[in-house]
C-alpha cells in the first residue's frame, strides 16, 4: 500500500493506493500547518470503515509498528496545538498505526508557505553584471531585505577553462559578513558551472569553514546554462531549506507516531518523487508540486494514460495535459506556476505546462485555455478533478460548499469526473516513482570522449536517484539527450540524463 | 530457353531482385515500377528537366547532395514519368525520402557503390535484357549446385534468388513440403513437375508473385527447371535412408527381444537414443484395418517421423518404448491424427529395463487390440474382461459363432434361448440371470433345459467358453 498526501491550502487529503488503485481516501480541512493536518487526516483515514473493510481488519488491532519514540512525543506536545480538533491529546496506544503496517511509502505533495522563506547569503562567482541582472534582482523585498549578496572573481568558460582564479579572500570576507548577519543558508553560483563546478565547490568549502553549520546550495546541482535562472533556483532552494527540514521532521514524527515505518517521500513538481533526506537538501525540486500531482493522479483515477485535465481548487482552475502518464512540460522558467517563483523571478526547472483561470470572472480565459489544449493535444479525453470539481452540494468531504463556483457548468459537456476526483493530487503523489536528473554541458572533441562524458553523466544520474530514495537495484536511466550548442566551438553539448527507480 | 518475352525490356524490379542491382535497397512502390529503357546520369537537378519516360535517373554530385536534393529529383522524375531514381545511400534517409517515393509512386534505388558503376550496370541491362536475364539464371544454377540435394536448401535458394516471387514444393495432396505457402497463392508465375526416382510425379514446384515484366515468367520457369534434378536426387536419397533406418530399427528390436543382454544391440540402441535401462513403458500402434506388409513398410518412415519418441515396425504394427513419462499418454492420444494410416494404440505398464521389454510389448499390443477402433488408446493396466470381450473381432467370429450355435438358432425363433444362455454365462448363475432378464428363476431353469436338450453342455469348460464367445459375438452383431 502507498499513501499519498495532498497538503493543500484549503484541505489536506490522504489517499491509500494498493497496486496503483485507489482503496480509500479522506479529506480534512487544512488547519494548523501541514504536519498537524497530516496527523488529523491519518486519524480520519484510520477510522474510516472503508480502510478497515479493505484490509479485513475488523475491530482487531493491527500488526503495524509501535508508537513513536517517547522523546518525540514530548517535542510534539511542546509545540503542537493540542486544542485543535482531531488531534489526540495523548500518545497513541499500541497498534494505533496498524492499518498502515504494510505501507510501502508515504508521499507528500506540499507547497511551503512563501512566508517561511529564509534570508540567504547569495554568492555569485564571475564578472559583475549590470545591476538589473545582479544577484536577487527581481526578488521580493521580504527575501532581499535580510539577505546578503556578493559577486567575486572566478568562474569557468563553457569549454572548462578558468575565466579568472577564484578570489578566495573575497569569498571568506563575504561568508564572515553573512555569518555575522546571522545567515545560515547560502547559495553559490559560478559562471560556467554547468561545465565545471570547481569554483562552486571551493567556495562552499570556504563558507563552511567560516560559518559552521551553514546550509549551502550549489547551483551546478541545477546544472542548466542560464546563470540567472540557475542562481534563482539555488537561492530559492536555500531559502526553502529550513522550512523543508521542519516539514520533513514534523511529518516524519507524525508517521512514526501513527506507526508507519514506510519511507517518507515528497512529490516533485516536475513529476516523480524524492525521499525525505533528499528533500531536506533540495526542497526546490518538490516545491509547488500539487499541480503536477493532480494531473498525474487524474489519469490514474480515470484509468487512461493521456488526457487533458482540469484541476479545480476552490481558488482557481488549472489546466494541463498528461501524455503517457506524465504532465507535458511547459516552456520552462516556472513563471506560470503560482507559488513557485517568488516575485516571478525566472527559475530553470522543467515544470508542467499549465493554464490557469479564476472563476467566475475567468470563464472566457478558461474556455480559451481548454480550446488551446485541445488544439495542442487533439483527441485526448477531458478529465475534471480537484477539491472543487463537483457542484456545490454534490460532494461531501470537508470543503465548505458555500460560494464555490460551478466549474463543471463553466467547462461545459464532455468532461469526465472520475471516481475519487477530489483526491487526484494525493493519488498522483502516491503513485509517483523516484526520479532525479543530471544536466550539464560537456566539451568533447571526439566521439570516444563524448561517450565517456555521457557515461559519466549516466553514472551521476543513477547515483543521484539512489540518493533521492530509490532502491539501488531499481535505479535505471530513463532518458538521455544531448544537443550541440550553436555559435560555440564544436564539441560543446548540452547533456541531460533522467534516472528513475522505486522506493523500498 | 528463350521463351516469349525473354527479350522484352527489363523492369526496375528485375534490376533489383536478383538482377544487376541486387545490392540496392528499393524504396517506394512495392510492385516495383515499370520498364527501364534508358539511363541518365544527373549531376545537377536541371538534368531531370530533359529526360524521357522509362529512364532510370542516377543521381550524383550536386543532385545527390542531401535528402532535399533527392526529394526534388523524385518530384521531377515523377513529372517526367521516369522509370526510377538511383541515389547514393549517404544522401537518403529511408524514412522521409522513402515515404515520398511511395507517395509519388517512383521507385527509389539506394546504392552503396559508386553511382557511375550503377549507371553502367543499368545501361547494360537495359540494352540487352535477355543477357541480363540469362545472367540471373546462370547465377541460380551456381547457387543450386551449392545447395546440394536438400529440398529445404534448394527451395531456399529459389526464394532468395527469385526475390519478389514465392516458391513452394508441394505434393499431390497440396501439402507444402518445402518453401513458402505464398507460392500457392494466386495464379502461378511458373510451375514444373518434380518426378520421383521411379519417374512417377512426386511433387510440383510452384512460383507465384507479381508478373513484373513479360519476360519474368519465362525466367522463373527456367530457374525452376534447374531445380528439378536436385529435387529428384533428394527424393531418392531420402527414400533410401528412410527405408534403411526403418529396417535397422526393427531388426535391432528383434535382437533386443531375443537377447536382452546382447551388448552390441544395447550399444546400437543407445546410439539411436533408445532407453535400455531403468523403468520402461512400451507402446504399440496397430493399423485398423490391418495393413499388408508392404504398406506397413511404406508407411514406416512417415510413422516414425510423426512421433518424437522411438517407433519401429513390430509384428503387424509399430512399437516403441521409453522411460515412463507423464506426457506420453497425451502424446499417444494426439498421434493418430498425424499418422498416414488409422491406428489404435496400446500402452503397457512399467517394465524393468530391456529384460522386461518383451512382456511390456505384448501387454501393449494386447491393449491395442482391446482398443479396437482407430484413434483409441488403451492402457494395459486398465484392461479388464469386459474390455477384452468388447475387443472381440465381431466380423471375423460371426460366421464360426453361427456355426457353433446353429442348432440353437434354428430352435430359438424369438431369441429368448440365446438371450437366456448369454445371461447365464455372463452372470454365472441362473438366479442372477433371472434377475437380469426380469423373469422367474424357474423360467430360466426351463429354458436352460431346452438348451441342454439341443446338445449344449454348459458344465464342460471348453464348450462353455465357446458358447460364451459365440453369444457375445452374435449379440454384438445384432447390436444388443
Amino acid at each position: 500500500m502507498r499513501l499519498g498526501v495532498d497538503a493543500g491550502r484549503v484541505a489536506t487529503k490522504v489517499a491509500a493506493l494498493r497496486d496503483g488503485a485507489l482503496v480509500v481516501g479522506v479529506s480534512v480541512p487544512a488547519r494548523g500547518g501541514v504536519a498537524v493536518s497530516l496527523r488529523r487526516a491519518l486519524t480520519a483515514l484510520r477510522e474510516s470503515p472503508a480502510l478497515r473493510d479493505s484490509l479485513h481488519l475488523g475491530d482487531a488491532p493491527g500488526l503495524g509498528g509501535g508508537p513513536g519514540p517517547r522523546g518525540s512525543a514530548d517535542r510534539r506536545d511542546s509545540r503542537g496545538s493540542p486544542g485543535s480538533p482531531g488531534v489526540r491529546a495523548s500518545a497513541p496506544g499500541p497498534g494505533a498505526g496498524g492499518p498502515y503496517g504494510g505501507a510501502e511509502a508515504v508521499v507528500v505533495t506540499a507547497d511551503l508557505p512563501a512566508g517561511e522563506l529564509e534570508p540567504v547569503g547569495v554568492l555569485r562567482i564571475g564578472a559583475p553584471a549590470h545591476a538589473a541582472l545582479g544577484p536577487l534582482a527581481g526578488w521580493p523585498e521580504r527575501v532581499r531585505g535580510a539577505s546578503r549578496t556578493a559577486v567575486v572573481r572566478g568562474g569557468h568558460t563553457l569549454t572548462g577553462f578558468p575565466l579568472a582564479p577564484l578570489d578566495r579572500d573575497a569569498v571568506r570576507a563575504f561568508a564572515a559578513e553573512a555569518g555575522r548577519a546571522g545567515l545560515t543558508s547560502f547559495a553559490v553560483t559560478a559562471a560556467g558551472s554547468p561545465t565545471s563546478a570547481a569554483h562552486e565547490l571551493a567556495a562552499a568549502a570556504l563558507i563552511a569553514a567560516e560559518v559552521p553549520g551553514a546550509r549551502i546550495t550549489l547551483s551546478y546541482e541545477f546544472g542548466r546554462p542560464g546563470l540567472r535562472e540557475r542562481e534563482n533556483s539555488a537561492v530559492l532552494n536555500a531559502a526553502l531549506r529550513p522550512a523543508a527540514e521542519r516539514l520533513a521532521d514534523e511529518a516524519g514524527d507524525v508517521l512514526a507516531r501513527a506507526g508507519i515505518g514506510a519511507p517518507l517521500c515528497f512529490a516533485r513538481n516536475a513529476g516523480g518523487l524524492v525521499g525525505a533526506e533528499y528533500y531536506r537538501r533540495y526542497p526546490v525540486v518538490a516545491h509547488a508540486s500539487a499541480a503536477g500531482s493532480a494531473l498525474a493522479g487524474a489519469v490514474r483515477l480515470a484509468g487512461v494514460d493521456s488526457a487533458i485535465v482540469a484541476d479545480a481548487s476552490p481558488r482557481e482552475v488549472r489546466l494541463g495535459v498528461v501524455e503517457a502518464g506524465r504532465p507535458r512540460p511547459g516552456p520552462g522558467g516556472g513563471a506560470d506556476l503560482p507559488g513557485l517563483s517568488p516575485g516571478g523571478v525566472p527559475l530553470n526547472m522543467s515544470l508542467p505546462m499549465l493554464r490557469r483561470a479564476v472563476l467566475p470572472a475567468g470563464r472566457e480565459e478558461l474556455l480559451e485555455g481548454v480550446a488551446a489544449l485541445r488544439r495542442a493535444a487533439p483527441g485526448l479525453p477531458s478529465l475534471l478533478v480537484g477539491g472543487a470539481c463537483r457542484k456545490a452540494g454534490d460532494a461531501g468531504g470537508a470543503d465548505r460548499a458555500g460560494e464555490r463556483p460551478d466549474v463543471a457548468a463553466a467547462l461545459g459537456p464532455d468532461w469526465t469526473v472520475p471516481a475519487g476526483a477530489e483526491l487526484a493530487g494525493a493519488v498522483g503523489a502516491a503513485a509517483a516513482q523516484v526520479s532525479a536528473e543530471v544536466e550539464r554541458i560537456v566539451y568533447a572533441t571526439g566521439r570516444a570522449e563524448l561517450e565517456h562524458e555521457l557515461a559519466d553523466a549516466r553514472d551521476e544520474a543513477l547515483a543521484r536517484v539512489v540518493s533521492a530514495g530509490a532502491a539501488p537495484g531499481s535505479a535505471r536511466v530513463a532518458s538521455v539527450s544531448r544537443n550541440p550548442l550553436s555559435y560555440l566551438p564544436d564539441g560543446l553539448y548540452r547533456v541531460r540524463v533522467v534516472a528513475a527507480g522505486t522506493t523500498g | 530457353m528463350s521463351a516469349a518475352g525473354w527479350e522484352s525490356a527489363i523492369t526496375v524490379a528485375e534490376l533489383v531482385h536478383g538482377g544487376p542491382l541486387g545490392e540496392a535497397v528499393l524504396l517506394g512502390p512495392r510492385d516495383g515500377g515499370g520498364e527501364v529503357r534508358d539511363v541518365r546520369i544527373a549531376d545537377r537537378l536541371e538534368v531531370l528537366a530533359s529526360i524521357t519516360p522509362h529512364t532510370a535517373v542516377v543521381l550524383t554530385g550536386a543532385a545527390a547532395e542531401g535528402g532535399w536534393a533527392v526529394e526534388m529529383a523524385l518530384r521531377r522524375a515523377w513529372e517526367q514519368a521516369a522509370a526510377c531514381v538511383v541515389a547514393p545511400a549517404a544522401a537518403v534517409s529511408a524514412d522521409s525520402t522513402g515515404s515520398l517515393a511511395v507517395r509519388l509512386g517512383v521507385p527509389l534505388l539506394v546504392v552503396s557503390e559508386d553511382p557511375l558503376i550503377t549507371a553502367v550496370r543499368i545501361a547494360t541491362a537495359a540494352a540487352r535484357p535477355a543477357a541480363a536475364r540469362t545472367q540471373l539464371v546462370a547465377r541460380c544454377a551456381q547457387e543450386l549446385a551449392r545447395a546440394g540435394t536438400s529440398a529445404r536448401r534448394v527451395v531456399g535458394v529459389l526464394n532468395a534468388e527469385l526475390a519478389g516471387a514465392s516458391v513452394a514444393l508441394v505434393d499431390a495432396a497440396g501439402t507444402v513440403l518445402a518453401g513458402s505457402r505464398a507460392g500457392l497463392a494466386g495464379p502461378p508465375l511458373a510451375e514444373v513437375a518434380v518426378p520421383g526416382p521411379g519417374g512417377e510425379e512426386l511433387a510440383r514446384l510452384r512460383a507465384a508473385g507479381p508478373p513484373r515484366s513479360p519476360g519474368w515468367p519465362a525466367v522463373v520457369a527456367a530457374v525452376l527447371e534447374l531445380a528439378v534434378a536436385p529435387l529428384t536426387a533428394w527424393a531418392a536419397r531420402a527414400r533410401l535412408a528412410a527405408a534403411r533406418e526403418a529396417a535397422f530399427g526393427s531388426a535391432l528390436l528383434d535382437r533386443l527381444l531375443r537377447d536382452p543382454g546382447d551388448e552390441g544391440a544395447l550399444r546400437d540402441a543407445a546410439a539411436l537414443g533408445w532407453a535400455v535401462h531403468g523403468p520402461l513403458v512400451a507402446y504399440v500402434l496397430r493399423p485398423v484395418p490391418p495393413l499388408a506388409p508392404e504398406d506397413l513398410a511404406r508407411h514406416t518412415p512417415g510413422v516414425a517421423a510423426s512421433f518424437d519418441r522411438p517407433l519401429v515396425r513390430h509384428e503387424d504394427g509399430w512399437a516403441g518404448w521409453c522411460p515412463p513419462d507423464p506426457g506420453l499418454d497425451a502424446a499417444l492420444r494426439a498421434l493418430p491424427g498425424r499418422l498416414p494410416a488409422p491406428c489404435s494404440a496400446g500402452l503397457s505398464g512399467v517394465a524393468d529395463g530391456v529384460a522386461g521389454l518383451g512382456g511390456a510389448l505384448a501387454d501393449a499390443r494386447a491393449a491395442s487390440v482391446v482398443a479396437g477402433s482407430a484413434g483409441t488408446l488403451v492402457r494395459a493396466d486398465e484392461v479388464g474382461p469386459a474390455q477384452l470381450l468388447a475387443a472381440l473381432p465381431v466380423d471375423t467370429l460371426a460366421a464360426p459363432a453361427r456355426a457353433v450355435l446353429a442348432p440353437l438358432l434354428a430352435a430359438d425363433r424369438d431369441g429368448v434361448l440365446i438371450a437366456t444362455l448369454a445371461a447365464v454365462l455372463d452372470t454365472g448363475s441362473p438366479t442372477a440371470a433371472a434377475e437380469r432378464l426380469g423373469v422367474h428363476r424357474n423360467t430360466v431353469a426351463a429354458r436352460l433345459d431346452r438348451v441342454r436338450a439341443l446338445g449344449f453342455d454348459l458344465e464342460e469348460p471348453a464348450q462353455r467358453l465357446a458358447l460364451h464367445l459365440a453369444c457375445r459375438v452374435l449379440r454384438e452383431e445384432r447390436g444388443q
Binding site: 564571475g126 | 547532395e65 509519388l104
Partner: protein, 366 residues
Amino acid sequence: MTGGGVEDDPRDRAGDAARANAVGAGELGFLAAGSRVFAPGAADSSFRAAREWARGLLTANGPVPLVDAGELPPDAMVAAVSLVGSTTAFGEYLPGGDEPVRAVRALEGRLGERIAAVVPLNTAAENALLPLVAAASLGVPLVDGDGTGRVFPLLEQTTFALGGVTPAPLALAGPLGDVVVVDSAAQRVEELVRPLVLAAGGWVVAACYPARAGKLAESLVPGSVSRLVAAGRPGAPRAVAAPYGVRVLCSGRVTAVEQGPEPGPGRRLPSRPASILVREHGGLARLIRLEAYNEILMALADGAVAATAPDQICLISTADGTVVDVDRAAAGMDVEVVVLRAAPAWHTGAGRALGGPQVFGLGVPG
C-alpha cells in the same frame, strides 16, 4: 495603440515609421513580445536577461526616442548594433552593462566621429532589445528600421550590404572586458569575427555597418521597431509583424528531425544542417521537408520547392503559438509551417544571391 483606430492592412504599415515616437519601459513589453512573434527563444535565459537589462535602463534613463532614418540629418553617422555569437553564452556570461558603449566608442575612435543614432541589424528576439539598450546607454535615438527584416546567420547578409554599406569597420565588446576593432573586406568579416567571439566569451555586442543617415535611409527595412511594438500588443494579429505578407504553408506534425553531418574544419556556418520532416494534417497530406542551418532555408512539399530563403520560414507550435527553435524541433510536435515574405530588397537578383538557399549549399534549379 499609437496609430489611428482604423484596422488597416499591415502591408500599408511597412513604410510608416512614425507609429511610436519613443520606446519606454511601457512599450518594452510589447516590443519584447512582438520580437518573438516570428522568432524563437521566448523561454531562453538570454532573452529574459536582455529584457531585464533593457527594463533596468529604460526605468533609470527614461524612454529612448524612436526616429525615422529620414528625420536624422543626412550626414549624421549611424551604426548598427547586434548581438553576435551564442545566446547560451549570453545567458551564462551576463553583460556587465557597458558592452554597447565600449563597442560604439571603439568604433567611433576608428571612424574619428561620434555616432548620432543606432539602428538594429535585425529585430528577432534579443536583437530587437540590444539596440534599444545601446541607444539608452549612449543617450542617442534608435532608428525605426533594421538591416534584414528577418534574421540571417551571417553578418554580411543584410539589406545594408545590398545598399552598398559595408559591415567594417566594426567593433566588438564582450562580457569579459575585451574590445576588438575589425577592419577588413566585407567577405572576410565573418571569418575574422567568429573566432574572436569565441575567445571573448561566446558572445559580443557588435557595432557595425557605420553609415550616414542619408545612405542608411535607402537601404534599411523601415519601421521594424514600431511594427513590433504594435505586433506585441495584446490581441494584435500576428500578421502585423509580417509587413510584406505571411502565408501558412501547412499545418501538420513533425515526423522526424534528421541531423546533418558534423561540419568539417573551416566551416562557414555556425551550426550543423538539419532536416525537419512534417506530415500535413488533412488536405493533401503532403510531406513537407524543411532544410535548416540555424534558420529554415527551404521548404519542399512532396519534393517541389514551396518556399526558400530569403523568405523566412517558421515553425509555430500549435500548442502555444510560440516559434519552435530548429534546435528544439522534435518528432510528434504539432506545428504550422509559416512563410514570411522578405523585404523587397531581398527579391532582387543581388538579394537572392546574398540571401538565397545557394549561399547555404542548397542549389535550387531555376
